[in-house]
């Protein structure tokens, strides 16, 4: 099957890509061209917010790849997201240069504050954009590979694996909270000034970041779609359905698992890297187990095993979160909790599954 053919058969994906195509044209136009007082104007704040959702959608897709198609419920995907974010944050920190509060040409402010003499070795090279971008994928990728190497080869699966991934992100959170780690401790990395010489505060930079986020989301989606529709994707789905049987047929299950887990972690890292310049901060809070579990809910709400459903879920839940935490902060946790319960009890296939059921029912009636 050719690539175009595979995309053509994917109805939900076509919808999603069309929406992204509209957004990529409309949002910059509405922000830059339409005058401020018009009802159609989209403020820069909204652009940033939308950009954030797009990053979350990419993250959700990366989780759906492993959970929806391979049956690996990772409760630590936030760790990969955060590692990508930290890689980007380190580049942005190095870009600050002498404009920091202490005016040190090389060391970020928090290192000067801690009386460090020189950059730790793992900060070297992050002044180069290309290196940082490579690390955005390599850092989470290597972690996922090593973790998967240990976990999948010894056939840890199901609930055990979920708990282990949760422990992983919890341990990383504790580690990144330490000042001695050299990642800014509690405060994380912030006060960014510019990216590749463009000021992060200017509207045009924000628009460009938004466009890049959408492009990456579309790229990530197509990549995942190609993976799951390829022969390899079929094997991965077989692993989800019957791990032992796949093994007995002769496939090295753990190789597929490690591979898909690593790819997914890299995508999550890219999402994190796009997220950081838009929100302007990365701190150890991103490693919280709660964040990773919330991420699982996005996917569950949207409908797992569909990819576009994950993106939809990320968008809807986060939009609800933004409006509700603003309007009724007390209610938000009740609502989120209820959402968890209702989705698992009533809509086990999420919104997409629900819509499909409606469609089939209409089909049957018709």
């Amino acid at each position: 099957m050719s690539i175009t053919q595979r995309i053509k058969e994917d109805v939900g994906g076509r919808w999603m890509l069309s929406i992204l195509a509209i957004a990529i044209v409309w949002v910059p136009f509405a922000n830059l061209v339409i005058p401020n007082d018009s009802a159609m104007y989209v403020s820069t704040y909204t652009v940033t917010l939308l950009g954030k959702y797009v990053c979350f959608a990419l993250l959700a897709i990366s989780l759906d790849l492993v959970w929806g198609y391979c049956g690996i419920l990772s409760l630590g995907h936030g760790a990969f997201f955060a590692l990508g974010g930290y890689s980007m944050g380190m580049y942005l920190m190095r870009q600050i240069g002498e404009r920091g509060v202490y005016g040190h040409p090389e060391l970020p402010d928090f290192m000067v504050f801690l009386n460090w003499e020189s950059l730790p070795w793992y900060w070297l090279g992050f002044d180069m954009f290309w290196f940082a971008m490579v690390m955005v994928m390599v850092a989470p990728g290597v972690l996922a590979f090593v973790f998967g190497w240990f976990a999948f080869r010894s056939r840890v699966s199901g609930v055990y694996l979920s708990i282990m991934t949760q422990a992983l992100t919890y341990a990383l959170m504790l580690a990144f909270f330490r000042n001695e780690m050299g990642f800014g401790g509690n405060n994380g990395l912030t006060d960014f000034k510019e990216i590749l010489g463009f000021s992060l505060q200017s509207d045009s930079t924000r628009i460009v970041l938004f466009i890049i986020s959408i492009v990456m989301l579309a790229f990530g989606y197509i990549l995942c779609r190609l993976i799951v529709t390829s022969k390899l994707g079929r094997v991965v789905t077989a692993v989800r359905e019957a791990q032992s049987r796949t093994r007995f047929i002769g496939y090295r299950v753990e190789h597929f698992q490690i591979w898909i887990f690593t790819v997914s972690a890299m995508l999550a890292g890219i999402a994190g890297a796009l997220y950081v310049p838009q929100v302007g901060i990365i701190n150890p809070g991103e490693f919280q187990p709660l964040n990773s579990i919330e991420l699982v809910v996005w996917v569950a709400v949207g409908g797992r095993g569909t990819l576009y459903g994950a993106a939809l879920g990320a968008g809807i839940v986060n939009y609800a979160k933004t409006t509700m935490t603003g309007a009724f902060p007390e209610i938000w946790l009740f609502a989120l909790g209820a959402l968890f319960v209702i989705v698992t009890l009533v809509f086990p296939k999420g919104i997409v599954g629900f819509l499909q059921r409606l469609k089939y029912r209409a089909y049957d009636d018709g």
């Binding site: 419920l73 973790f147 240990f150 976990a151 080869r153 010894s154 056939r155 840890v156 199901g158 609930v159 055990y160 979920s162 708990i163 282990m164 949760q166 422990a167 992983l168 919890y170 341990a171 504790l174 580690a175 909270f177 330490r178 187990p289 579990i293 699982v296 809910v297 569950a300 007390e330 946790l333 009740f334 989120l336 909790g337 209820a338 959402l339 968890f340 319960v341 989705v343 698992t344 009890l345 086990p348």
Partner: protein
């Protein structure tokens, strides 16, 4: 003095009427007269001596003040202690007009209420500039404290005597050594004898006589008193000392070091077991529900929190009986958390059996709701639960080694809960059914066990145990909406590490992790220790995916 002449006659009238032999009466009267004759001037003399001694404190020189204070402490007068205490607390002043020593209490307006030190009679109020303070410095303060302690050495409570002996040793006033030795001879309380001996050793370590000193050094081996160690270190480092003394001091110091490190070890072990017992309490309920139903109950931490809040509410309802309320809180928390657990099972989990990952999500949602509910009802602030008297403080196992009582009780409590649960699972009908369902649900059902009922009961039991764990936790930390969250990751790791569905495994794993954590902490720091433990467990699970004690048989396959 008026007593002379007056007493005999007033006494003689009634006695005169008795039939006692006349000569004996006259002798008795004579003796009485002599005694009175002697007492009166002696009293007068004592008073003068006392007055002279306290007047001596008025000097500017601290050297002379020290001598005066030591002299004062030797006088047998009821007010000596008061004067020394006032001196220590900076309440001893000189009235400038009369040049007399007075007790002065600072008043709000800036003036002073003064009183006579001998009689205690109030002398009215004076302005600040009419009195001047009898100054005291740290060195003198230490001396005076020792003197006061010397006077207190014969008080009835043994704790007071021990404290007195310790502060005498710290004061270093050589004159007090004899006081210690006299007390040592008549003392019967073993703990006080130990304290007195230590104090005497401290003095003897400074003795001029080499033999006494050497003897004291040898005696001081294994004595963990801080003073002793300071003195020994000084001797060991002093180049002017004789070789023998220095070597002996080194030896004693080594012995002390060994004792200290042994106690450190025991203490760390205790703290580790204490932490482990908390982990066991938190994890054991989870172990049952996880083992029997394969259900990941992410709301388990919140059930613990509900137990802790139940303790808080019970205490609110009966504020005057902290002891009783804690005892009542244990069954109350069991029931409240158990009921919440049963509701959760009936409303949500029963629809999700066989889908462990979905249960994980749903129960996580429940945990968020419970947290927010508690936050709305009780406010997000932390509440503190009072501890009963018998749980506060610590028990001294040996000098320099003591266990905090609340941790000790919780350790014992955890063992009790564990034993009780084991009893329920091994000796009751419910336990039998639970074990049957754990091992093979389908077969158990075929044998006529109503597995749905077992599920409800098991979930209630596990949730109830979580509530009981909450009672224990309320004695260690503040009670807040996030109380449970901190334990959920840890408890899961304990269960997974120990082997699912295995109570002994949970027990061993919890205690082991607690002890490991506490032994790593001093080496690596608290956070790094925690991270190391997490990575250790992650690696361990790779090696033995079914935990320390895996279930055997068909149920282990899945």
């Amino acid at each position: 003095m008026g007593r002379f002449g007056h007493t005999p006659y007033s006494q003689s009238r009634p006695t005169g009427c008795t039939l006692a032999p006349h000569r004996q009466l006259t002798r008795w009267l004579f003796q009485l007269g002599i005694v009175c004759l002697l007492i009166a001037p002696m009293q007068a003399f004592c008073l003068d001596e006392f007055q002279a001694a306290i007047d001596a404190l008025k000097t500017k020189s601290y050297e002379e003040k020290t001598t005066a204070a030591v002299a004062l402490a030797k006088i047998n007068h009821p007010k000596v202690l008061d004067v020394l205490n006032a001196f220590l607390n900076g309440n001893l002043y000189k009235q400038k007009k009369t040049n007399k020593l007075v007790f002065a209490q600072k008043l709000e307006g800036g003036g002073f209420a003064i009183s006579d030190p001998t009689t205690g009679v109030s002398l009215g109020e004076v302005r600040r500039r009419h009195v001047s303070k009898i100054g005291i410095n740290n060195r003198l303060r230490r001396t005076v404290r020792g003197l006061v302690a010397g006077l207190k050495l014969n008080q009835p409570e043994p704790e007071g005597r021990i404290a007195a002996a310790r502060s005498i040793a710290a004061s270093g006033v050589a004159e007090l050594q004899s006081v210690l030795e006299t007390q040592r001879e008549k003392e019967t309380e073993p703990k006080v004898i130990e304290a007195l001996d230590t104090a005497i050793v401290v003095f003897n370590l400074d003795a001029q006589d080499e033999v006494i000193r050497l003897n004291a050094i040898e005696k001081s081996a294994k004595n963990l008193d801080g003073q002793v160690r300071i003195k020994l270190t000084a001797i060991a480092l002093d180049k002017d000392m004789s070789e023998d003394l220095r070597i002996a001091a080194e030896k004693s110091l080594h012995a002390i070091e060994r004792a200290v490190s042994r106690y450190k070890f025991i203490e760390t072990l205790f703290f580790g077991l204490s932490l482990g017992s908390v982990l066991v309490l938190a994890a054991i309920g989870l172990s049952i529900t996880f083992g029997v139903m394969g259900v990941i109950n992410m709301a388990h931490g919140e059930l613990i929190m509900i137990g802790a809040y139940t303790t808080y509410v019970v205490q609110l309802l009966m504020p005057n009986h902290p002891e009783l309320s804690l005892i009542i809180a244990i069954p109350a928390a069991f029931i409240v958390s158990g009921l919440v657990g049963i509701v959760i099972e009936r409303c949500v989990i029963q629809f999700l059996y066989g889908r462990p990952l979905e249960t994980l999500l749903a129960t996580f949602g429940i945990s968020l709701i419970l947290q927010q509910a508690v936050r709305s009802i009780f406010s997000p602030l932390n509440r503190s639960v009072a501890s009963p008297d018998w749980m506060t403080g610590s028990i001294e196992i040996a000098h320099g080694l003591s266990f905090t009582l609340n941790r000790l009780y919780i350790l014992v409590f955890a063992l009790f809960v564990f034993a009780g649960l084991l009893l329920v699972l091994q000796r009751t009908r419910l336990g039998l059914e639970v074990r049957a369902v754990t091992q093979n649900r389908a077969m158990a059902r075929a044998m006529g066990i109503r597995s749905a009922r077992v599920d409800v009961m098991t979930f209630g039991l596990g949730a109830g145990i979580a509530g009981v764990a909450g009672v224990a936790l309320s004695q260690l930390t503040n009670v807040g909406p996030n109380l449970g969250q901190g334990y959920i990751v840890d408890s899961f790791l304990v269960v997974v590490f120990g082997g699912v569905g295995n109570l002994w495994g949970t027990m061993v794993a919890g205690l082991l992790l607690g002890v490991m954590n506490k032994f790593l902490e001093p080496v690596a720091g608290a956070v790094v220790a925690k991270i190391l433990i997490l990575f250790f467990i992650i690696l361990f699970i790779q090696k033995r995916p079914r935990g320390l004690f895996p279930q055997r048989g068909r149920s282990g396959e899945s």
